[in-house]
């Protein structure tokens, strides 16, 4: 709160004060009061008024400055009222009370949405677990009857179900993952086996190098991420998928590279955005634009960075960087 702002705000009050003083002067002169006397009275009045104004100004200034400071430095601005003390002057107190009440109302509102969101997510999780039972039964039935006719469709259903589950998980603020040392190889071969029939059918060769290393991540989430990347490679006509990891002192860099149709330069910066389908989504198989978006969200939550590099018609290389925290290596 600057002094000029304050003075500007008080201008009308000062005008009235001046008019009052001028009126008083006219009356005092009409009563032939001595000039020295008038001067003394005016000095006293102006001095008193000045001191009073200064006191009021500094009292307000200290409160508003504190308020302003908190507002600038808080990352959750709605906690402002909790962070400041109630002032000792009336309009400040009034403002403070209003702020508190509206913050409280908003917090309740958010809590309600959060609860609803959580309930919805819990329902999705439950539904996913339930729907997996008939899928599992069908898969076994196919195997027991020796028919492979339906298994590809079953896998598609399972993939879509996984998408819903991980979308719900990635959106949620709750922490439902565990970061621990995960052997990359185990996760990768799990996904390779899952996609085996499609890979063999399309004659896609698969090679893995340097995966004999452990990274700090959640294995289930990572498996989903691999599944999405492999699904994309298959969808976009790769006939060679190469997965390799490079180990550095402070990080492990995993490359997921295929020689499919690639991504155009114009599309490349947007592929991790929600609902972005781009050129490939239009000219090739229908794309929902959700897969890589979910991948990005999961990576962000797990603290991995994910990047894409591609030359159209040549290759696509998705890189995931797993950080290494020295703390994890304490023996």
């Amino acid at each position: 709160m600057s002094i000029t702002e304050y003075l500007k705000d008080r201008l009308s009050v000062y005008m009235i004060y001046l008019v009052t003083l001028a009126t008083a002067l006219i009356f005092m002169q009409a009563f032939h009061i001595r000039t020295q006397c008038i001067i003394i009275v005016y000095v006293i009045l102006l001095l008193g008024g000045g001191i009073a104004e200064c006191w009021v100004f500094f009292r307000k200034k200290s409160f508003y400055d504190k308020l302003n400071y908190c507002l600038d430095n808080l990352d959750k601005k709605y906690l402002l009222a909790e962070m400041t003390e109630a002032p000792d002057f009336f309009d400040g107190r009034f403002l403070y009370e209003v702020l508190r009440q509206s913050d409280k109302a908003m917090c309740e509102h958010i809590a309600e949405y959060r609860r609803e969101n959580l309930e919805f997510r819990e329902y999705i999780e439950m539904w996913v677990h339930e729907v997996k039972l008939p899928v599992a039964s069908l898969q076994l039935m196919c195997h027991n009857d020796g028919s492979t006719r339906y298994s590809e469709q079953l896998k598609r259903i399972d993939d879509y179900i996984e998408n819903v589950l991980y979308y719900a998980r990635s959106r949620n603020a709750e922490k439902d993952y565990i970061i621990k040392a995960v052997p990359l190889k185990r996760v990768f071969s799990e996904i390779a086996i899952k996609n085996r029939s499609e890979l063999l059918e399309r004659n896609i060769s698969l090679s893995a190098e340097g995966l004999d290393t452990e990274v700090m991540t959640d294995s289930k989430w990572l498996a989903f991420i691999f599944g999405q990347l492999m699904g994309n490679s298959i969808k976009y006509e790769a006939d060679e998928i190469k997965v390799y990891a490079e180990d550095f002192d402070d990080k492990t860099v995993l490359h997921f590279r295929d020689n499919g149709i690639g991504i155009s330069e114009a599309d490349l910066p947007y592929i991790f955005e929600k609902s972005f389908t781009g050129e490939n989504g239009r000219t090739h198989t229908k794309s929902t634009g959700m897969g890589l978006y979910i991948v990005k969200m999961l990576c962000t939550k797990l603290g991995h960075s994910v990047q894409a590099d591609s030359v159209q018609g040549e290759y696509t290389d998705i890189t995931i960087v797993f950080g290494k925290d020295k703390l994890h290596n304490i023996q």
Binding site: V135, A136, N144, Y177, I193, S205, S219, K220
Partner: protein, 220 residues
């Protein structure tokens, strides 16, 4: 014959798993009255137990905890709950493996035989007729004559040997190879099998691996 007990509340799924196991040469005991699961687990004398997590009455995790106090029979948890937390919890309660639904049937069988093998260690060698098969050395030894197998050939031979006399599909062989991080294709599988045939013939086992058209292979 190894006996496997299935505790699962989804009856359709349970019966399909039972069929799968029976077809693969296991004796199967199915728990139908889930209110007495724990008693049945204790008294069954099964070699391995497949246990669902989401069960009525008492949950699978609690069952496992109680069961572990009296027995160390191998238990594989089957579940549709797929978070890392569930897995870590189950393993800490004493599960030997954890498989999420829906599962690849061949993988399920491989995991079962892996867990069973861990519990009935025979010193790393098996017999095939009068030849000694050493998985550790990766070789077959007959009357002092030794044939060294490659990793892929060993995986194939091992699976055929485990199910000697039965038909093993190409799909099963492929799954076993992929499960061991050998991402081979159809051609490579054929090549590996013919090489394995050659090596077996060298040891005097002529036509040991029989091809059944459109079905798979049988080790005689």
């Amino acid at each position: 014959m190894k006996k496997i007990m299935i505790i699962e509340d989804d009856t359709v799924l349970r019966d399909e798993v039972a069929t799968l196991l029976k077809n693969s040469g296991y004796e199967v005991q199915v728990v139908t009255d889930l209110s007495t699961s724990l008693e049945q687990m204790k008294s069954s004398g099964a070699d391995l137990i497949l246990l669902d997590i989401n069960l009525p009455f008492v949950g699978g995790e609690t069952l496992l905890q109680e069961f572990r106090k009296v027995s160390d029979t191998p238990v594989i948890m089957l579940t549709s709950r797929s978070t890392e937390i569930d897995e870590v919890l189950s393993m800490s309660f004493g599960a030997d493996d954890y498989i999420t639904k829906p599962y690849n049937p061949t993988i399920l069988l491989l995991r079962i035989s892996a867990v069973l093998k861990r519990f009935t260690k025979t010193g790393g060698s098996q017999m095939y007729h009068d030849a000694e098969v050493s998985t550790v050395k990766g070789s077959i030894d007959r009357n002092g004559k030794e044939q060294v197998l490659t990793k892929n050939e060993m995986i194939i031979f091992q699976l055929l040997l485990d199910r000697q006399g039965e038909i093993v599909t190409r799909d099963d062989l492929m799954t076993a190879l992929w499960d061991n991080d050998e991402f081979v294709n159809d051609n490579a599988l054929s090549v590996n099998i013919s090489r394995l045939r050659g090596k077996l013939a060298d040891l005097g086992f002529e036509d040991a691996i029989e091809t059944r058209k459109k079905q798979g292979y049988v080790l005689k």
